[in-house]
Amino acid sequence: MASLGRTIAVQVVSNLAALIIIVALISALLVFYSQTILQGVVVEMVQEFTRNLARNPALTPEQKAQLINLYQQALEVRFGLVGNPISKVYHMMINILTLNLGSSRNVYMGNSASISSQIIFALKNTVILFFTATLISIVIGLALGLYAARKPHGIIDSLLSFFAVLSASLPMWWVGMLMLLVFAFWNHWFPAQSMPVYFAIQQLSQAYHSGSITTLSYILEYIRTWLYYMALPLTTVVLVSIGGWAYIVRNVVIGKMAEDFVMTARAKGLSERKVLFGHVLRAASPPIVTTAALSLVSSLGGAIISETVFGWPGMGLLFWIAITNSEPMLIAGNVYVTVLLFIITIIILNILYVFLDPRIKTSGSQQVF
């Protein structure tokens, strides 16, 4: 078991190293960015000052030059442009890691202008959407992949292969736009914007607290409201990520089906169900986890962008708003949290992998990613 602990430690450390590197990169970029912007402000203010001075005939040119110089230095100190850039990056890193990012100009999400609370609000919604979608994809994708693997080159299998090829080049957010066109514009089945979910929920809880509806109908209505507003984004994410993932399951399962132990299991008189679920799928689980992890996690990017299409109040929409309103700190915080989400997912999957494969559990390290 010692080696198990060690393997997990290696995973965690190397992934956290990646996180630190990314945060350092973000911080350096931000410091660089703010420096350039502020530098421009200083230059403008100094020019203004110079023009004002020029109108004053009482000063000699040397005095003017000296005054301008002093003014510039004072400005640079005021804007924090002097000092060691490395220490600035370091402080920025600390701020980002602790999500101590100050406030944004306006409240974009949640109910506070503090960047961290906005991001947490958005993160919560992204997690709700993305993980629900992932769960659904896993279940349907597994079923689909297994079914296709049992009859390779059959109709379902060919369709699945085509679907996998298709979804590999499908922009998820575009599918989202199509969804809106079809189900919100042409057939008014679902709302075009998901943002109002919060108002709907608020009204609902007000109605509940005022006692006009029963607990049961409150719960049902609560779930219905969420599903109503989440349906389109959820379907989009599931639809686009499921093809590739089912295809991976299919390939891994077909590979495992060819192995000798499957023949052994069949010869032992196990039912096809037992063979498939008990032996093949169990043995296929480590590689499935490895490859699927990437396919699912890579759909995170698409999912995030799709949020902007649906107006789902998550990280993606926050990105969109922050970009439109040029709020670099908000973007930086958002990037950091997205990366964090990604890396935590990878760490969890890595650990899961270690537990799934007894060969690694007992005999040492193998990194999945």
Partner: protein, 330 residues
């Protein structure tokens, strides 16, 4: 003596993109109780496919085309899949697989995989099943503690013993051993062979022993079937097969084996290569490499003829042309 396994006219083909491969064709033999039938042949002659056909487990794109397989008098091939699974597989016929390294699922403990037959066929509880597993492991000379280990933690010899233990679990009528010692070193091989001999005596087992190694066959088999290009070309008691074979292929094969003891004679070899089974030669499949081949051999395939009691040959030298291949067993 009663036959525990009767195979008649069994043919199995693979339907590949490049054409149909007749991997096993018109194979007939009987296995008596407490007997070991050795099936020998070179790589690609169809011995493993024959084993899979007996179990009804030919991997796609292959399937059994015709024939009958009777175990304890039950016709296996006509049973439905679920019936075969419940009544025949592992209870009546089990298998020791080639390459024990891969016969175990790497993610389960050895004990669990040995216990599975008890759980699924006998409805034992887990605890009961694991008690049985311990007995089995002891029987094949392994430490019962091994049940908690994963396959990759065992040495090749230990794994092979465990695979044998697994095959014996439900005390089946027939055990097929497909190249059980090929990957092992000679010392381990001799231990495993001794174990199998001992188990055969103690438990009164009937084996089908498949290997390419004629010396190993001689160590084990009471009766030997020599396969060439999907057909059994000669079948008979091992004394006859090894000491005075009839078929030209058998006799050349026996004379090509290097011997450890006795006078050193010049080794024989068979010129040419085994045929490609997608486009086999017409007539007797051995004719291009046979020194006695005549015109007839190149045109028509000989029948499987009983030349003396219990000794069958598929060669024009011994076929008068009257006996059809199917009726030879009767």
């Amino acid at each position: 003596m009663t036959a525990v396994l009767e195979v008649e006219n069994l043919s199995t083909s693979y339907y590949t993109f490049r054409g149909m491969v007749k991997a096993v064709e018109k194979v007939s033999f009987k296995l008596e109780k407490e007997e070991i039938l050795g099936i020998a042949g070179e790589s690609g002659c169809g011995k493993s496919t024959l084993a899979w056909s007996l179990m009804g487990l030919v991997p796609p794109p292959g399937r059994v085309v015709e024939g009958s397989v009777k175990i304890d008098g039950i016709e296996v091939l006509s049973l439905s899949e679920s019936e075969r699974r419940k009544k025949i597989l592992w209870e009546k016929i089990s298998m020791i697989f080639q390459g024990a390294i891969n016969a175990f699922n790497p993610v389960y403990t050895v004990g669990y995989q040995l216990a599975e037959p008890f759980i699924y066929h006998k409805n034992y509880s887990k605890k009961e099943a694991f008690e049985k597993v311990k007995e089995l492991l002891k029987m094949v000379g392994l430490n019962p503690e091994i049940e908690k280990r994963y396959p990759h933690e065992l040495s090749g010899g230990m794994k092979q013993r465990a695979v044998i233990a697994m095959a014996l679990a439900l005390e089946p009528s027939v055990i097929i051993a497909d190249e059980p010692t090929t990957a092992l070193d000679v010392v381990i091989q001799s231990q495993i062979l001794n174990l199998m001999k001992k188990l055969k005596q103690d438990k009164k087992l009937s084996f089908i022993f498949i290997t390419h190694d004629m010396s190993v066959i001689a160590e084990m088999a009471d009766k030997v079937a020599i396969m060439y290009a999907g057909r059994i070309v000669e079948l008979g008691p091992s004394e006859i097969i090894f000491n005075r074979p009839y078929h030209p292929y058998t006799s050349a094969l026996i004379r090509s084996i290097p011997r450890l003891r006795g006078p050193i004679e010049k080794l024989q070899y068979i010129p040419g290569e085994p045929p490609n089974l997608i486009s086999p030669p017409p007539g007797c499949k051995f004719n291009p490499r046979c020194q006695y081949a005549e015109e007839l051999c190149k045109k028509e395939e000989p029948g499987f003829v009983e030349v003396e009691k219990g000794h069958f040959v598929r060669c024009w030298k011994y076929d008068s042309g009257k006996q059809s291949s199917g009726g030879a067993m009767k």
